[in-house]
């Protein structure tokens, strides 16, 4: 036999935790926490995803290589988001060199 066999109880436990977290995140959405609503929702989603990845997808018992693959995917996703937003969110800024007027005078002359 190849691969790790997980005990049935562990699966059921993880499943219960996932359901509980779903209930929690739904409940939290109806409480006004300001910007923390988003943070809480995403944090709970990350917890749930981690549970699925670690137990259902056996990452806990897999080799380092698979973890590297997953990590690479998220690092690359982070690159895509960060650099795209670095443009989109800074477009209204206009650069003003400190000695702007003087330089212009120089160029004009």
């Amino acid at each position: 036999m190849v691969g790790h066999v997980v005990h049935k109880k562990l699966y059921i436990l993880v499943f219960a935790a996932l359901l509980a977290l779903t209930a929690l995140t739904t409940g939290v959405a109806f409480i006004d926490l300001g910007k923390w609503n988003t943070v809480a929702a995403l944090a709970i989603a990350v917890c749930k995803a981690s549970l699925v990845v670690l137990f259902f997808m056996h990452l806990r018992w897999s080799s380092g290589l698979m973890r590297m693959v997953l990590l690479a995917a998220f690092v690359w996703f982070a690159i895509l988001v960060t650099l795209t937003l670095s443009d989109e969110f800074t477009r209204p800024w206009t650069p003003v060199p400190s000695n702007w007027e003087a330089q212009i005078q120089q160029q004009v002359r």
Binding site: M1, V2, G3, V5, V6, K8, Y11, I12, V14, F15, L18, L19, T22, T25, T26, V28, A29, F30, I31, D32, N37, T38, A41, L42, I44, A45, K48, A49, V52, V53, F55, F56, M57, S62, S63, L65, M66, V69, L70, A72, A73, F74, W76, F77, L80, V81, T84, L85, E88, F89
Partner: protein, 216 residues
């Protein structure tokens, strides 16, 4: 011994290598899926920040009860899929088919609820950009953008579900013909990885689309 040689494809040296290779292959494929959805998520993050009020209003127009129900359905299906892989590992054919069938039914429930309840409702209400868009509230064009995202994200997710349902059907047929054994269940295992991944995408879609819209 006989079954283990039959289970080994000729390019591999041993079962362990074959098992590792197929899992690694699926994980790499899932990495490409992360980037596939990643492009859309990037755009969503961007426009959500640009047009926050419209996106929150859009979120409140979605039915959180259906969202929560479907989340539970998908989590159930993930459990049954994990148990199916376990049954395959232990060589329990009957149990394997049962759990695969359960997963299939739950998956179809999800898609059915999505189509027959949610999207149909959205269509009747005139919330489908480009097809039937009749909403005339404040800032309706950014709301339209939100609904573009809603349909693209859930649509591509649902497409993955449909593909998953197809894969499950093939697995059930293969299991019925006794094609799996404790030495050879790679197909079940990697399909399981795929199914769980589709579940994870929904785990993020549910809060991003339904919950963080100032429902309080």
């Amino acid at each position: 011994m006989h079954s283990s040689t039959a289970a080994l494809a000729e390019q591999f040296d041993d079962l362990e290598q074959q098992h590792e290779a197929s899992s690694l292959g699926m994980w790499i494929f899932l990495a490409t899926e992360v980037m596939f959805f990643g492009g859309l998520f990037t755009a969503y993050i961007l426009f959500r920040n640009f047009y926050l009020p419209a996106f929150e209003a859009g979120s409140r127009l979605l039915d959180v009860r259906i969202g929560a129900f479907n989340t539970a359905v998908l989590l159930c299906s993930s459990l049954t899929m994990a148990l199916a892989v376990r049954a395959a590992q232990l060589g329990k054919k009957g149990l394997l088919i049962t759990f695969l069938l359960l997963t299939l039914l739950l998956g179809m429930t999800f898609v059915g609820v999505k189509l027959a309840l949610e999207w149909r409702h959205d269509y009747l209400e005139g919330f489908v950009p480009g097809v039937n868009w009749t909403f005339h509230g404040p800032d309706s064009r950014h709301l339209e953008l939100f609904f573009c995202f809603y349909f693209f994200l859930t649509g591509i997710h649902a497409l993955h579900m449909v593909i998953g349902v197809g894969i499950l059907t093939v697995l059930i047929i293969m299991a019925g013909r006794g094609r799996f054994s404790p030495q050879r269940y790679n197909a079940v295992e990697v399909s399981g990885l795929y199914w769980h991944f589709v579940d994870i995408v929904w785990i993020f879609l549910y809060p991003l689309l339904y919950l963080i819209g100032g429902r309080y």
